[in-house]
Amino acid sequence: MADLLTHLLVAYALCTVATWRVDWLDRRWVVVGVGGAAIPDLVKVRLVVPPSAVERALGVPFDVAPLSTLGGVLLVAGLVTLAFERDRWPRAYGLLTFGGVSALVLDGLRAFADGRASAWLYPLTGWRPPTPGLYVSSDPRVLLAAALLAAAVAAVDRARQ
């Protein structure tokens, strides 16, 4: 996957552009949408807690990979939504999901050796969508492009105010 900062910057740009059309969407809600883009990166918990160790402890097959899928985003967004006040749940959930899906789509565009992305639409389908292979995650130009996009959107946003 792309690095976390790239995910956050792209979600910031998308959510900020959305504020130009949606009245209630202000800066504090943009931050929530940006946070949603971090959900797929929770899969990195495997660096700290190896799934094989969890498998041995539980005695059942286990892999945190679905955190970086549509199903994982929908459920974790629900968990985070619970931290907000009840009347803010629809907005919080919508934005967290939007941010999370933006990160999944971005990851679905990166290069895979066989030309097919991971099954990020799981559990709707185990199908692996074709990928245009636009980038590899450790390429600094990816972050540069995301930073330029975010800066351009921020400049336009400031000019509009």
């Binding site: 976390l4 900062l5 940006v34 946070g35 892999d63 679905p66 050796a113 995650s137 450790s138």
Partner: protein
């Protein structure tokens, strides 16, 4: 909503996430089109001639071949990837698509260099850490935890 009911909802959602993690792992063999490193570690010879997509760390690089080690639950699986001139140093990570040949050789049809050296991996983690810290700072400027209700509330009301 009371704290108790929110906690109950959180437990339910956590259970659902765990269920997804178990279901994913249990159904992986049906989803995966290619043999997995575990299977190669157990019985390499029965997969010779099959196509595979595998990710691993480069341990040796020659002009037209790479030695790649993939992790598996049964220990590391070492493959000699031939037919590639990918520019990658030992310590880098590659993804290889190709055909398995006898003698733990993988004839590459396509190689994607995920990280061209060990340093490129650290770049990714470093940048991600910067992102995480930066996000927390920005988030806590807009939101705060109300200790009375244990909910997040906007700082400007």
């Amino acid at each position: 909503m009371t704290l108790r009911r929110r906690a109950a909802a959180a437990v339910l959602l956590l259970a659902a996430v765990s269920g997804l993690c178990v279901h994913w792992a249990a159904t992986e063999p049906q989803r995966e089109a290619y043999p997995q490193p575990d299977e190669l570690a157990a019985d390499y010879d029965s997969y010779v001639g099959e196509e595979i997509r595998v990710a691993g760390r480069v341990t040796a690089a020659e002009p037209s071949a790479l030695t790649v080690v993939a992790d598996s639950d049964r220990g590391p699986v070492e493959l000699r990837v031939t037919g590639t001139s990918a520019a990658v140093a030992p310590g880098g990570i590659v993804q290889v698509y190709g055909k398995l040949r006898p003698g733990r050789e993988l004839a590459a049809r396509n190689v994607v260099v995920v990280s061209d050296s060990g340093g490129a991996e650290w770049y990714k983690y470093g940048v991600s850490a910067v992102g995480a810290v930066g996000f927390l700072v920005v988030f806590l400027r807009q939101w705060r935890v109300d200790p009375a209700t244990w909910t997040l509330e906007a700082r400007d009301g």
